[in-house]
């Protein structure tokens, strides 16, 4: 399965991509919405893991843009909020069913990705 990780924290996405690759995922990364959209125009992905808060274009708006290019794509959101409660309100408005709070647990992330892909 191909996953695109998008977060402006480069060290986070590169390390996470490496860890997912070790587990058999074809993982690629981008550090901005613009870079993510460029990648999506060049190749397709099964699922994307998006940071909610990113410069200029946030994760929720990026999801809409990515969905316009690849309607079948699934999404997981990652938030740096201390509590997921605030994020839930905004996320439900754009249909973000799957989200996780930083720091991530990779097993939980993979479980969520599998759940989203089987939906």
């Amino acid at each position: 399965m191909k996953v695109l990780l998008v977060d402006d924290e480069k060290e986070l996405v590169t390390t996470l991509a490496e860890r997912l690759s070790i587990r058999g995922w074809e993982a690629q990364w981008a550090t901005s919405a613009e870079e993510a959209l460029d990648r999506l125009h060049a190749e397709s992905f099964d699922i994307a893991v998006l940071d909610v808060k990113m410069p200029r274009v946030d994760g929720l708006l990026l999801k809409k843009k990515m969905q316009a290019i690849c309607p079948a794509m699934k999404f997981i959101f990652v938030t740096g909020h201390g509590s997921s409660r605030d994020f839930q309100t905004g996320a439900s408005e754009v249909g973000a069913d799957y989200y996780l709070v930083k720091p991530l647990n990779i097993d939980k992330l993979i479980a969520k990705m599998n759940e989203a892909l089987q939906r």
């Binding site: 986070l12 390390t15 860890r19 808060k53 200029r56 740096g80 201390g82 930083k102 720091p103």
Partner: protein, 220 residues
């Protein structure tokens, strides 16, 4: 009716909360990177136990990344500490370059979210003013919020501060879109109360493309 003290207190609390939320977000990001690096070491060890040789260079890179995040976390917490102590005294000698540097450190994430870079330009290293550091930071934050909406095409705001004849002037420059900001944008009640508390005046100057906060120093 709300008193000036009530308005300043409420505005200050909102400002304090906003900064704390941003700082906690930054710390979460540091922890997230450290967490992934620790996880990667576990993954590499797990692979080594199954016969894949450990690459010492890869481990060194992980250690370097963790050290870099520790430095970053330490900078964030140092800024948080200075910010927390800004409420300690209502009137104290404040270093202008230091307060501008602190404002820049506290607000760089907000600026980055809006695609804006902050550049500090304070050549007068010894310049000071006697004031409330917390209220001054609050006033400068309100100025910066306006400034970020007016940043020019290169999206850089220059923050500067200098002594004046009877106080100090703190400037937000290179605001090439300041014409879009109404001249009375700073005349809302919380901002006005804050200006009165600081004996300050904020001017929005479209021609000079800057927002300037002038403070009177009780020392004269």
């Amino acid at each position: 009716m709300t008193t000036d003290a009530g308005l300043v207190g409420r505005t200050g609390l909102q400002f304090f909360g906003k900064m704390c939320a941003s700082i906690s977000h930054d710390i979460k990001n540091v922890l997230a990177v450290v967490n992934e690096n620790a996880g990667l070491v576990e993954d590499l060890c797990f692979a080594a136990e199954r016969g894949k040789p450990l690459d010492p260079l890869r481990l060194k890179r992980v250690a370097a990344d963790v050290k870099a995040q520790i430095r970053r976390g330490d900078d964030i917490i140092s800024g948080m500490n200075r910010f927390a102590h800004s409420v300690d005294s209502e009137s104290v000698q404040v270093s202008l370059p230091e307060i501008i540097e602190l404002l820049s450190a506290l607000c760089s994430r907000f600026a980055a979210m809006r695609g804006v870079a902050l550049k500090v330009d304070c050549p007068e290293a010894a310049a000071t003013v006697v004031t409330s550091p917390f209220l001054l930071l609050n006033l400068l934050w309100l100025c910066l919020e306006l400034a970020m909406a007016a940043a020019g095409p290169d999206r850089t705001i220059v923050l500067s501060a200098a002594r004046t004849e009877n106080g100090a002037c703190l400037r937000f420059r290179k605001l090439e879109r300041l014409q879009n900001v109404p001249a009375d944008a700073f005349s809302n009640e919380p901002a006005a109360a804050l200006c009165r508390a600081l004996n300050a005046e904020v001017r929005i100057d479209g021609q000079a493309q800057e927002i300037a906060a002038r403070l009177a120093d009780p020392r004269g």
